[in-house]
Subunit: 704 residues, 2 copies
């Protein structure tokens, strides 16, 4: 398996090893030994003869055997030389922990380029520099100085045998996730922190973990993606093999700020592409360390739910109400239980309890058989898909339910059961419940997040095969390669038409004498629109006249838009005036595509006019999409009821709109090298069976 | 001070005391003694001579001295008799813990009514039944069986001397908040759980805590409000005296579901009134126990910030990025620091650190002087208002910064400083940092929530005096008392006009012969609208014709709307047809008022048409509001840019709209006894200086 000899090396050399545990490299040296590494270990440091009772070598060249992994912790100025020596010796992998490279800029960034070059030329795979290393919990290999792995392992406890693999672009956060996860009783496979990714990137380790049978759930902490194709391939593999990935992606607050030609682009927060990619491959997005761990904990301990109906079982009325609010606001349902089930529950609880849902068994029922009997009852029936137990685990000597029968019950259980304590959980309580395979949750918003994530992951269907990108006519391709800057409406519409997308009848007119023929060809009423690459916002320039009904009016309109445009920007080069058939009435939509620097063309659909901009009500997908996916996109809009016939208005031609969206997405893929933005705005969607009309369109060529 | 002899009684009698600590009443008896109650304590139980070494009395009548507080824990069937005996003896207060009253319904609910009656008639104040009691931490009085107060107090630690008072409508959650708060190092004044509120309600205890000098921050857990006037008076007092109140309100997920006449009412989730009341009095709303405690912890340890600019100081780049995202998405600003400040910071940190903001001091700077020096630098300058420190507190023997100088620094500090650890905090770390007055935060979303809450609380201005409700003419008042059901447009507009609100010229016509005179009085073009209390949705019934331009067309329209309406509901009683001048163009808005059963008239403003319903983009206030408050409401709408002249369109007459909103709110207050709903929909707002027009209006009378 890829990177096996990196993460599970038969031999390790530590360049820069030290006996001084107050130094990071000393702590690293100690931790490899302390945590039980069983392969060949070579400490390398010309200043020492022995470290931790082991022979110390003066340089990598003097190591007798082969080396799978060289850990480099020498000062920054010596790193390149050390790596060259490793490459010369034929070392398979290097992990460079030393800081002060690309993150410092200048000469040091160049040194990092040199590192990448050595990797490319020699074949040695390099993780880092500036990496905090990794910990392989399956094979007890700690290649890191992180204090998080310096543990009294006899004090650890685990609630589950399913293991979590962590990949992090931050050493501190990667090992903090591990540290926090141990506290919940999670099991781990590997924790990998990737540093500056001069050679090996997060995507490489992601491939490893998707393939690794000991890793059941993957937790990613991402700042950026440095090898998007490999990254997407790994996500696709995980989606097909149903291995869940949970991601915390930072950098959402960074300003976007590049100039754009279309509304679509100006609305695309820079993280829109990430969210779109994650949605496509069923990656679960968490916005917080605790929520990420809560999701991982639920996936690690529970079967996937079959639906989104939750029963809450509580020992406190207030706690039940809190849980109901948290779960409902996360989009989950709390159905009232059937009269028959309520009657069966009534028999188990005091008269002042409540059997509906939340089921309030009251404080009196703690430690009785009631909670377990009710859980079993709800598991056997088909009224709910998930059970959330709200209880108190503050007690230092008693668990809220008996552990042995709980363990037995959960082993038979088909539905997820999650336990929340409203008091602070005692150490005793957490450890005892872990013996039954239970992770104790202490936050209801985390419970709700975890349940919602499980429900949505269970529903996820990996993307199937979709239509191929359009084969564009050679003439179009030739024209496209010459495009620069903003492509005005008439040219954009010609390109779209050449790609097989229907446009309204129209003529580009450059002189008054051509107006009659144009109008006859197009048919009244017409719209009259100035055309210039320098006037992307035609209306603002007074360059548009609508519903022009006869030749006299057309002549007036023609001169008016030319005059206004000339006044607006005296120097603008005018291509002419577009005379176009007015579209009939309907609902205005926007369909746009923006090419993301990392992930390629991202499709956006939203309502037309000001609504979309004011409410940011858009749906996004990675292009291309099928017609069915386009319909899904429309359904995600809050605006959708209007298309579907809100308050008795006519149902719009959703089929035609979906076809148009799919076509534009295919075109975007075909054009992706040359076009940065495409926007059809507005697209007017006519009533059912009447199709839709692209009223305006604009494109922007990719920057050279 | 109100309830002083309840919460700090000079003498306590326990009716139903027991030596058996496995029973709740035995645990209660023990905890009073164990936690150090120093007043006169009388155990009462005819079956015992002595409990916990104290003499036991057969009944309350045989107690020698006066009794401030009787705690009643006898079986439900004996509670009323016991309370009567207490009243007969002249006991000041009773706390009834026994369960099985209103929550059980039937005969038991009647027993609770009897309890309330005894309180009213005798003057004894009663808390409960079904109350888990209270704990007074200032005077060491535990009147509860909650295990949360059964603590080894030598192990407690506190980060702050400012005390938190808790009032909860759930015993379990009230004491869980205390239990969790102790774990954070918070100090407390009293924890009161109010049970079924047969006599004393949460509002009574709220008044006590607002007045209590030992309570600095109040934390409420609410399910409902049983005495709204007293509750609002207490909120108003807290607002004026700047005592912060944080509330967790449950029940948001409960279905609303009553039939409504207006869109305003159908959009009002049942919790809208609560949110509106809380906003009015600056009450901080939290949706989760941990977030509530985080806010309380920040308010208890930090000064209020002067603005919303945050500096993040981090030892981990990834942690800094996480913090930046969490804070930014909570609406806070992270300004880049000035070149001069960055230069000063550069001098303190390694070359691979970052001085912008987040300030990455790197892991190397832990335990150096750098973090403290940078905090001091940021405190002295005027570039930020709040400092968030992202660090690791996993270490069992070292704190991330030295405690003594930190304590000194924070004592001088003018700005809030919050500490977050991305690893699990060690017990050592939490306790040491508490010595410097620091609460350790372990969740960044809680840090962001707490900072945002402080910023918003610091900005809050208590509501000032506003205009008096309108004095309505006697004729209107007489008419109003006879209203039932839905009030159709023509009558609703007459009432509003009588209240001094300008309406469009209009005439109610019942026969074709009156059309000419009506049209002449009104002026063309006109709208023609059917009028019937049984047809609230006139358009759906085909009962509206717009832009009618002459008499012939008017006659056609008149007959058409009558015919349509008759076809729509053959039996509907028609009041006539309203002929009204068409309003000129503008932006459509909705202004509505719904009377909340608990809090009275709540005003709602939103965009007209489908936008408001699809996007739930509304602003709400308790009526009445001033014109300035009305402008604030408009500014809160995402739709506001459209009124303010979005994309070069004309600015709307916001002044006229604000006046109308204020007027309608005043009218709603005047009408509150008789009118359940008022809705003007749409109101068309014309360009600046051209006013606004109430195009349609409807009212619904209060249910009899």
């Amino acid at each position: 398996m890829q990177l096996d000899n990196f993460l599970n090396p038969a031999s390790i050399a530590v360049l820069g090893a030290s006996p001084d545990e107050h130094k990071l490299r000393g702590r690293l040296s100690k931790l490899i030994v302390k945590n039980g590494y069983r392969g060949d270990l070579y400490f390398i440091n010309p200043s020492h003869k022995e470290i931790h009772g082991r022979r110390c070598f003066p340089d990598i060249g003097s190591v007798p055997g082969p080396v799978d992994l060289a850990i480099i912790v020498v000062p920054a100025s010596q790193v390149v030389a050390a790596l060259e020596q490793c490459a010369a010796k034929g070392v398979n992998n290097a992990l460079i922990m030393t800081s002060g490279f690309a993150e410092e800029g200048g000469e040091q960034a160049k040194a990092q380029e040199r590192i990448a070059e050595i990797a490319r030329n020699s074949g040695i795979r390099v993780c880092g520099p500036n990496a905090e290393g990794f910990h392989n919990e399956v094979h007890n290999i700690s290649a890191t100085f992180s204090p998080a792995v310096d543990l009294d392992r006899s004090k650890l406890f685990t609630a589950t045998s399913r293991r979590v693999g962590i990949i992090a672009q931050s050493g501190g956060i990667g090992f903090a996730l591990y540290h926090r996860g141990l506290d919940l009783g999670l099991s781990f496979s590997r924790i990998v922190t990737v540093g500056n990714e001069s050679d090996l990137t997060a995507a490489d380790f992601l491939h490893h973990m998707v393939d690794d049978r000991k890793t059941h759930v993957i937790l990613l902490f991402l700042e950026t993606v440095r090898s998007p194709e490999a990254f997407i391939a790994a996500l696709a593999k995980a989606a097909l093999t149903s291995k869940p990935i949970v991601v915390v992606k930072v950098g959402r607050s960074a300003a976007g700020g590049r100039a754009t030609a279309s509304h679509t682009a100006s609305m695309a927060g820079w993280d829109a592409a990430y969210d779109t990619i994650f949605a496509k491959y069923g990656v679960i997005v968490a916005d917080d360390l605790d929520r990420a761990l809560a999701i991982v904990a639920a996936l690690g301990t529970c079967p996937l739910p079959r639906g989104k109906r939750v029963a809450v079982l509580t020992v406190s009325g207030g706690g039940g109400a809190l849980a109901a609010d948290a779960l409902t606001s996360a989009g989950l349902d709390l159905p009232e239980l059937s009269p028959k089930t309520q009657q069966l529950i009534r028999a188990q609880i005091p008269s002042y309890g409540a059997p509906q849902n939340p089921v309030d068994v009251t404080g009196q029922a703690t430690r009785t058989e009631a909670p377990l009997k009710i859980i079993e009852l709800l598991d056997e029936g088909d009224e709910v898909d998930i059970i959330v137990v709200v209880t108190t685990m503050a007690n230092e000597t008693l668990t809220p339910v008996k552990v042995a029968p709980l363990k037995e019950l959960l082993a038979r259980q088909n539905k997820p059961v999650l336990f929340f304590t409203y008091t602070v959980a005692s150490d005793f309580g957490i450890r005892e419940m872990a013996k039954a395979g239970v992770v104790t949750f202490t936050s209801l918003s985390e419970v709700a997040t975890a349940v919602a994530a499980m429900v949505s992951y269970a529903r996820f269907v990996p993307p199937g095969a979709i239509g191929l990108p359009v084969e564009l006519p050679a003439a179009v391709m030739a024209e496209l390669t010459n495009l620069t800057g903003i492509v005005p409406e008439h040219r954009a519409k010609m390109i779209l038409e050449d790609c097989g997308i229907a446009m309204l009848p129209r003529r580009l007119v450059t002189s008054e004498v051509d107006l009659l023929a144009a109008a006859n060809a197009v048919g009244y009423p017409v719209a009259v629109k100035i055309q210039s690459a320098e006037i992307p916002h035609k209306t603002d320039a007074g360059g548009v006249r609508l519903s022009v009904a006869d030749l006299d009016a057309l002549k007036v309109a023609f001169h008016a838009v030319v005059r206004s445009a000339s006044k607006y920007t005296a120097t603008a080069k005018l291509d002419g005036v577009l005379v176009e058939r007015m579209a009939s009435a309907g609902i205005e939509m926007i369909v746009g595509v923006v090419r993301d620097d990392i992930f390629g063309p991202i499709l956006t659909v939203g309502a037309g006019g000001v609504t979309t901009e004011l409410y940011r009500d858009v749906s996004r997908r990675v292009a291309p999409v099928t017609k069915n996916e386009a319909v899904d996109m429309l359904r995600e809009l809050k605006y959708f009821p209007l298309l579907a016939g809100f308050r008795g208005s006519a149902k719009a031609d959703i089929t035609a709109l979906a076809k148009l969206i799919s076509q534009i997405s295919m075109v975007a893929v075909s054009l992706k090298g040359s076009i940065a933005e495409i926007e059809c705005n507005p697209v007017i969607v006519h009533p059912c069976g009447k199709g839709c009309s692209v009223v305006d369109a604009v494109m922007a060529a990719s920057p050279a």
